[in-house]
Amino acid sequence: MRLYGIMAEFDSPQGLVEAARRTHDAGYRKIDAYSPFPVEDLAEAIGFHSNRVALVTLIGAIAGGLSGYLLQYWIATISYPINVGGRPYHSWPSFIVVTFEMTILFGGIAAVFGMLALNGLPMPYHPVFNVPRFAMASKDRFFLVVFATDPKYDAAGTRQFLESLGPRSISEVPS
């Protein structure tokens, strides 16, 4: 049967980070690390730096702010201009609040859904779940996986290499 990758289990974040770093140094690129909480340095240990969430959020926020203000401007001066308590049609100070709220709203929504989208979530099914021990990944175990799609990957060699990292256990991830 085809494998999705090989999974090594560690029991401390420390161990995982070192292992990940060495695997990356060893030239493995298609790898991922799993931890029950965000671990510092783990991301760049596996060579992941770029992160476009901030950009998405910014775009969302700007879109929200603009739409908010333009909506009000259009309503008050173009769609149905009418004299309210002697105020000018375009009484911009009154429009600030809603503009601000819309900025926040769209920004926030963009941040959350952008993050989910970039993470490819929702994804209830994932091969790593096939490994029974992986259930511990959401408790107190730390996993490193080298994917079968990695050019340097070969079943035996990679397994050997992972064992050399002194994991608690090694298991194959069926795809």
Binding site: P81, I82, P122, M123, P124, Y125, F129, N130, A135
Partner: protein, 231 residues
């Protein structure tokens, strides 16, 4: 352990997108319903005691609107003809047509005919026929091709947005006063100009502007103020 089947990935994303479209669709449907004849009665023929045909009386016999709708020029209310008006003719012609029986019954008994109101506004809207006519708004601009209606129906939606269409741009609709009751009136074209006070106009734009001035139509801000229609 694996809880979900592979397919759930696609499924879950599908549902998320699906939800968005469903909600949007629902909103759209409501908007449509709001404007549908079911709500507005536009184009809907309502049950009437006597199947009166405007087509026959207007086109066929060439009776002027004001013969029946007498108060249309002096009052907010155009007026529904009293039984008497119908009987002026129908005491001579069609004297034993079955469908006119309710009419004759009313005339005999003195009990009024109960028509169903066709063009109906909510109670908080105040419309005045006389002023619209004075300002050169044609009957059929709002009531539609009455001369081609075998059975009377409401032509426009009579919703606020519809009223505002004209109140925001009267010049697009105005016509000379003498054309107000003319069911065949056409807006001016280069081929068929409209003559007002010795001057002929070749397009509605110029005619509209001229009439606005001539009939002292108040400016848009005035006639879109709330108290124009709501009291």
């Amino acid at each position: 352990m694996q809880i979900f089947h592979r397919s759930t990935n696609t499924l879950s994303r599908a549902t998320i997108f699906g939800a968005v479209f469903v909600i949007a669709g629902l909103g759209w449907a409501l908007m449509e319903l709001q404007r549908s004849p079911y709500i507005t009665y536009a184009g809907v023929v309502k049950p009437q005691p006597v199947p009166f045909s405007h087509q026959h009386h207007v086109t066929g016999l060439g009776i002027d609107c004001r013969y029946c709708h007498t108060s249309v020029e002096q009052s907010s209310f155009a007026g529904i003809p009293p039984t008497k008006t119908c009987m002026n003719c129908h005491s001579q012609i069609w004297t034993n047509a079955q469908m006119l029986e309710p009419l004759r019954a009313s005339y005999r008994s003195g009990e009024s005919l109960e028509w169903t109101r066709v063009n109906q506004l909510p109670d908080f809207v105040y419309f005045n026929h006389s002023i619209h006519i004075a300002k050169g708004v044609g009957c059929n601009t709002c009531h539609g091709p009455i001369d081609q209606m075998p059975l009377m129906y409401q032509y426009a939606s009579l919703q606020m947005e519809w009223c505002l269409n004209c109140h925001r741009a009267p010049e697009k609709y105005l016509r000379p006063r003498d054309g107000v009751f003319n069911m065949r009136y056409q807006q001016p074209t280069s081929a068929a100009p409209v003559l007002v006070a010795g001057e002929s106009y070749y397009d509605q734009a110029s005619l509209g502007k001229a009439l606005m001035a001539k009939y002292k139509v108040r400016n848009v801000a005035d006639i879109t103020s709330c108290d124009t229609c709501h009291r």
